[in-house]
């Protein structure tokens, strides 16, 4: 393979410039607001609502673990879909492709069955 390193790293100069520019722009903007804008140090400034009822808890609430569990299970099948699309295109040409995908989906299915049996789908 004739890949010139200069080309490889030459391409990276653009990336470097982008990174530097990308850093300069927001930093400049933030610095400018910090220096130019009027700033109030009042305590209520940080409150969620400036008037009306007082907030009871912190604004950030923790999300239950079970959401993550569902998210992970979802991602697995999401990625599976990603594999199935290209498979559709070669399916007709290769007889073994059917069984390959069959094995792949069976393993995923077994995983889901395991999670189900383990009680991971139970909303507790």
């Amino acid at each position: 393979m004739e890949h010139s390193t200069d080309a490889l790293f030459g391409g990276y100069i653009t990336v470097l410039v982008a990174i530097v520019m990308g850093a300069i722009l927001p930093v400049t903007a933030l610095l400018a607001t910090r220096l130019l804008a009027p700033f109030s140090r009042e305590r209520n400034k940080g409150a969620t609502y400036e008037c009306g009822m007082l907030p009871i808890r912190r604004a950030s609430t923790s999300i239950g673990m079970r959401f993550y569990l569902y998210a992970i299970l979802f991602i697995i099948f999401d990625v599976e879909a990603l594999f199935v699309f290209p498979w559709v295109l070669t399916f007709a040409d290769s007889p073994s492709a059917y069984w390959t995908m069959f094995a792949f989906i069976s393993i995923l299915g077994a995983g889901l069955a395991y999670a189900w049996k383990k009680g991971a789908l139970q909303w507790r």
């Binding site: 393979m1 890949h3 010139s4 390193t5 790293f9 077994a110 395991y114 049996k117």
Partner: protein, 510 residues
Amino acid sequence: MADFVVIAPALILLLASGVVLFVAISGPGTLRPVVLGALVIAGVFALAQGAGGQNAEAFGGAVRVDAFSVFFAVLIVAATIAVILGGSEWIESRAQRGEVYGLMLASAGAMLLLTQSNDLIMIFVALETTSIAQFILAGIARDARSSEAGLKYLLTGSVSAAVLLYGFAFLFGLSGSTSLQGIAAYVAAAPEGGRLALLFAFALVAAGFGFKMAIVPFHAWAPDVYQGAPTVVTSFLSVASKAAGFAIVLRVFYVGLGGGDSYIANDWAIMFGVLAALSMTFGNLAALMQTDVKRLLGYSSIAQAGNIAVGLAAVAAGSTNGASGVLFFLGTYAATNLGAFVCVMAVSQRIGSDQIRDYAGLARRSPWLAGILTLCLLSLTGIPPTAGFLAKIYIFNSAIQASGASEFTSNLGAQMVGAPPFVANLVDGVVERWLVLVVVVAVLNTAISAFYYLRWARTMILDEPPETSALRVPAGVQGVVAVAAFGVVLFGLAPTPLITAAQHAAAALH
């Protein structure tokens, strides 16, 4: 189909892992015979592959079974069996025993694949499979420490995987091939413009693998994970996982770079030499202060990884027996560390503590465990008649041999303005043999390590025990430690068979 026969040992373990997981959730049942049976069958299969003496490739060359992979397959399977037998008390007492067995099998199976991989994609897939199983294993005790260990391991592991992938991407970008032979062909052509990029790529790859080997500066996870994870898991990590890490580093760097003859060999020799010296020094100095046995063994494993990395540097610098030195060291290290960890498991299970001071007077409560643990500590220090002594001598010898073969030239002395000529010559003489300096650092570290290893042994032998009741240990555990101790002494007195096997395995890389 033939492809699947080639990777049968790994497949057996991975399938058994699935079976064990399903059996475990469908009700109570005896799992241990299934697990051990699968391991034994896989081990026998691997041995049979090795006895055939034929190299086999599968999946278009992505997997390669040769004497090298067989050596590690046997090592990893044996280590896993020992861990499961030695830790069976703890595992069987857990509600998650099915997961422990299943994940261990999955991790071991993926390790077998890892040592057989000959292709960047295959390497990455196998490495991730074994790592993910280990992340869960580290956190499986579900107490605060164990969870912390699991999370730390997961986070550092993911970052290092990303770094590794970046390095792989560079290698692919440069050579246009994911197979190690393809990369070797690119390197052999010695494109002068590609030198810097190649070094960059290999540095990234070394960083990614450095995490698996736990060498400085990629070691930060090791002490916390070693301490926090259940001891069964820790022993699995410190023996099997570390061996697999070194195996794949050897394969990538040896095959990918053409056995130390390549035009960047000197650069990565220096890289590994420096990493080795740092690892040993840092690991030993940090271990001096430890009071927790598992944390101590964690730092000790960093230091030992440094010793093994001396062998990697020797390989790069052109030693003919550097690779076999690494393999020999790993073999003896497996016996030694397993012996030590199984003793620690058995003792901690009974005295309910991992503190060195609670090991006081162990020699009187259980002469058997204390004696074997002392033997293993001697071996870690490198005192005869144990295996650790010869392993160190052998690996240092390979480094010195490489130093003699190296054509590295120094003009540092000439640049020293005003220095007397003999000083300049001495400086050049030493710098040109810099690998000898690494060995000097290594042997001085041996003296440092003697202090903390033997302080622990002294506590066991000399101090007054808090209570004198004898510790009863089941026959199975006694058997495992006895086999480990036998290995430590056997490899220390009659190492020729293991060295021959290691040389045979290393020759397969050429």
